[in-house]
Subunit: 137 residues, 4 copies
């Protein structure tokens, strides 16, 4: 695995909320990041679908990773997400890519799929701005 | 408490993900919903701030509640969120209001504050579309 | 009129696209901007409503003005807009306010109304990020 | 040219605002639409770049066309746009594609390029919801 991937895994391991949800880093290379998550009952809403907040979290985090692959330590400044269908299945895959990157900001997109009985289906798509973190004195 | 509020609490209690995070419904009336959440370490990212995914989840859920106060059983179709500053504090408050509501959709806004040593400060603002759920046969 | 308002009018007068559409600056004060526009046939789409692109332009410009009232010369980095109903009427009013402002960026919201036979009605709502322009060497 | 393309051109010709701006339909096929526009001074802002409102208009319209290729007569319900760099050049190309489409709504993305001395460069990217128009009685 690359240095970048190791760095990415350390960040993920140091995010208590990502540990709580069970997020894994699958791909992390310049311009691209893939996060995945095993669906379990705790992550669902009242109809048995994965809660939209879980999809949002995944999109947010994958967008930050994609931007961070170009910018280093980064935060998501803003994003929007469209839900495409109920997320029913066993595993979520969030794939984020960099559309445009400058010195301090990157614009990224993310598509989230669920893998289940019906194969892999898109469940959400997101777009947002990632900003390089400014170190504190 | 009103019937609407009781209905809202039942929905929240039946969302395993909301139970995992510890979300509480504070206000639920026509056109407005307030959700709150006690910050704990499990909800943080690597710098000790509340993870953006938690703020997103809260925004998403509060927007759905606000829309649902007009439409009945509803889902969030899409939303966007801007993070305003790092969320450092003890308690998150997400206040969502309906901007416009029709027969099947409502457009809502949400502002999230954190309450901590520095008083109450805005940490995120969101806007999105809530759609009436279509009952399954 | 204030110096800020004069500055705002000069900017508007130097935007050929705003002149083409006939935009006027009504209010420009710290944290708030109001732009207005007289509806004419050239600004409509195929059903006789004001074209969504005109509403988008107004939202974009009003957001930039609101942010610029805090940051000085600024650009809109991104925004989202929800259309609420067809824009039918005589005059459009876009009111933008600053939600949060830092050294280089501001997050602003904008609501657009149309004034017509049915009084004043909201037709769109927007939220976005305004960034201080970086002077070229 | 296809029937769909002819239909698309009729719609564009019946939009006075598109005529005012000089928009042309280049591609219109199921799931995809391309609009283009020759840059002229009237479409610029105070720094000589194409006004963001023109890019927004193009994104909005291209998104509607992409969604409309699946849904028939449609409107944009909402979208977000990120500006990537100043739009300097001779011609704008907005390419919109359908990400997901149902009976009444489609989620689409759009990328806008400018063609100029530096070749073709991305200047904005957008994502939004297109809704099938409901015929009036």
């Amino acid at each position: 695995m690359s240095e970048l991937f190791d760095f990415g895994q350390q960040i993920l391991a140091s995010q208590p909320f990502s540990a709580l949800l069970g997020t894994e880093l699958t791909t992390f290379e310049p311009g691209k990041a893939v996060l995945s998550l095993t669906v379990r009952d705790e992550l669902k809403q009242q109809h048995g679908f994965v809660h939209g907040g879980v999809l949002s979290y995944l999109a947010d985090n994958a967008l930050t990773y994609a931007g961070g692959s170009m910018l280093g330590d980064s935060v998501t400044s803003e994003y929007k997400i469209n839900y495409l269908r109920p997320a029913i299945g066993d595993r979520l895959i969030a794939t984020a890519t960099v559309i445009s990157s400058g010195k301090t900001q990157a614009v990224c997109q993310c598509i989230i799929s669920v893998i289940g009985e019906q194969g892999e289906r898109h469940v959400a798509v997101a777009q947002g701005t990632i900003t390089k973190a400014t170190p504190k004195a």
